[in-house]
């Protein structure tokens, strides 16, 4: 009797690991990859709520305002409170996702200035600065928004969102690394992004000029670090090969 092997893989097996959930999964080319599902009621409310953030902050009130502005019954609050996240945090996370989507749309737009830049790291700096510009309209509420992200219960979701952002930036900047450099770059971009955002909170210069300079400096530092590492690696490999050859030639001489 034929029996299907139980060892063979099935798709239903839970496959995500802790590490896997931190990084974005497979990016498809012919199937849609959605960041924000614009059709769901929840995201429609939260997207509307973004308009009220400058006034009311990342707060449940903002969501209430949005529900009323859309002409929905107040009971729809339950759509938001239903998830395991607090309404405030849901709003922060949604806001981050919308901004990330906006950035992605800007980066893939063939007419955008981004495509005139050739150097990978300059593209990275451009993308980070562009993303920080999106913080502009809500800069007064940003501090309280960020404070939701670092609540221990929320940290894993915040980090996942942060890494998705840095992965977007690295990918569109043209990263082609296949080894540990892949991780180094993404962690580097994430930390540059976070530190620049904290800098931005204190920055009162026009158009965040000082923040932009800060980003440029940090990205330049990371680029130097990368090339230093590559130089050391090349030097090491060269020396290893020449040592082997030296030993070989000495052995041949007897």
């Amino acid at each position: 009797m034929l029996r299907t092997s139980t060892r063979s893989w099935t798709i239903s097996r839970p496959v995500s690991t802790r590490l896997g959930s931190l990084f974005r999964s497979y990016h498809s080319e012919t199937h849609p990859n959605t960041i924000v599902d614009e059709k769901s009621v929840e995201s429609r409310i939260l997207t509307k709520a973004i308009e009220f953030i400058p006034e009311h902050g990342f707060h449940q009130n903002t969501i209430t305002q949005a529900i009323r502005a859309l002409g929905y019954p107040d009971s729809l609050q339950s759509v938001i409170t239903n998830s395991s996240n607090s309404p405030d945090f849901s709003l922060v996370l949604h806001w981050l996702k919308v901004q990330r989507q906006k950035l992605e749309q800007h980066l893939v737009d063939p007419t955008s200035e981004f495509h005139t830049i050739k150097d990978e790291y300059e593209r990275v700096a451009y993308a980070i600065k562009k993303r920080l510009q999106y913080n502009g309209p809500i800069i007064n509420q940003l501090g309280s928004g960020l404070s939701h992200l670092v609540v221990p219960y929320n940290v894993s979701q915040s980090l996942a969102e942060l890494h998705s952002l840095s992965d977007d930036i690295a990918f569109y900047a043209g990263d082609m690394s296949h080894d540990l450099a892949w991780y180094t770059k993404r962690v580097g971009f994430s930390s540059i992004y976070v530190s620049s955002e904290l800098y931005q909170l204190q920055d009162s210069s026009e158009g965040f000029r000082r923040t932009n300079a800060f980003v440029d400096e940090k990205v330049h530092g990371l680029k130097r670090l990368g090339s230093a590492y590559n130089d050391v690696e090349q030097w090491g490999v060269f020396n290893a090969i020449s040592t082997v050859n030296l030993i070989k030639s000495q052995l041949l001489r007897g």
């Binding site: 839970p14 497979y26 296949h178």
Partner: protein, 251 residues
């Protein structure tokens, strides 16, 4: 007892003939159906892949990249040791190595395009693979071939497992591009039931599997079975490879 057998046999006879004519009819009607299908490729959109489907593809690309990297470095190690000692093996090894380099490059490209994270243990795979290749080659050329046999057996089997899942589990809804209506199976051509992305991945994997199995034959032709101790070597290496596959999928 006897009557039962007779009873069983008669309908079999009859069905035999009827099947033929029915098959004939089926073949005819399926040709008609194929002609009636309106959608041929660039006029459809595909639905979103589920989380589990994506996670599986993620694993497939990561583990295949790590595996091809390993194969590439194993042949590099073998070539380093054997090429100068046995000039007659040089073209054989070179040919296999070049194919592995091509496989490795293909999966490297897929990894960056599809935004899959590479295995965290990449440096370990590099060192381990080059050590395995050079180590077995240092024992004897037969041992190196036995190593090839073990590795290619495991890789071939693993590719087959992946193909089995890609074959069965990747039917997503297909929509008309202009109207957005979901299409039924009768309307679309069989070639485009699965998105070109998945079918090209399937083609790549099955092509690579065939080449890996070709390497297996080559290794056996070059006296792999004469390696001492053959069983210990091949089974040991197979175990190591399975462990590496398990780890590379996850970490």
């Amino acid at each position: 007892m006897l009557t039962r057998i007779v009873y069983k046999e008669t309908p079999v006879c009859r069905r035999y003939f009827s099947t033929i004519s029915r098959r004939f009819q089926e073949a005819l009607s399926s040709e008609d159906k194929e002609a009636a299908k309106k959608y041929y490729g660039d006029d459809v959109n595909y639905g979103e892949l589920s989380k589990a489907q994506k996670a599986f593809l993620d694993r497939v690309i990561r583990v295949d990249q790590a595996g091809e990297l390993g194969a590439n470095y194993i042949y590099m190690g073998q070539y380093m040791v054997l090429a100068s000692k046995y000039p007659h093996l040089r073209p054989v090894l070179k040919h296999m190595w070049e194919q592995e380099i091509h496989h490795h490059d293909t999966f490297n490209k897929l990894q960056t395009e599809r935004r899959v994270r590479p295995s965290l243990l990449t440096p370990l795979w590099k060192i381990g693979a080059i050590g395995m290749g050079a180590g077995t080659a240092l024992i004897s050329k037969e041992a190196a071939m036995a190593c090839t046999v073990a590795v290619e057996t495991v890789i071939g089997g693993h590719y087959n497992e992946q193909l089995r899942v890609l074959m069965n589990q990747y039917n997503v809804p297909v929509y008309d591009k202009s109207t957005g209506e979901q299409l039924s199976g009768d309307e679309i051509n069989t070639d485009i039931e699965i998105s070109p992305e998945i079918s090209s991945l399937k083609d790549t994997i099955s092509e690579f599997r065939d080449e890996e199995l070709e390497h297996l034959d080559t290794a056996i032709q070059h006296d792999a079975k004469k390696a001492v101790p053959y069983m210990l070597l091949t089974e040991g290496i197979k175990m190591v490879c399975r462990g590496a596959i398990w780890t590379a999928e996850r970490v």
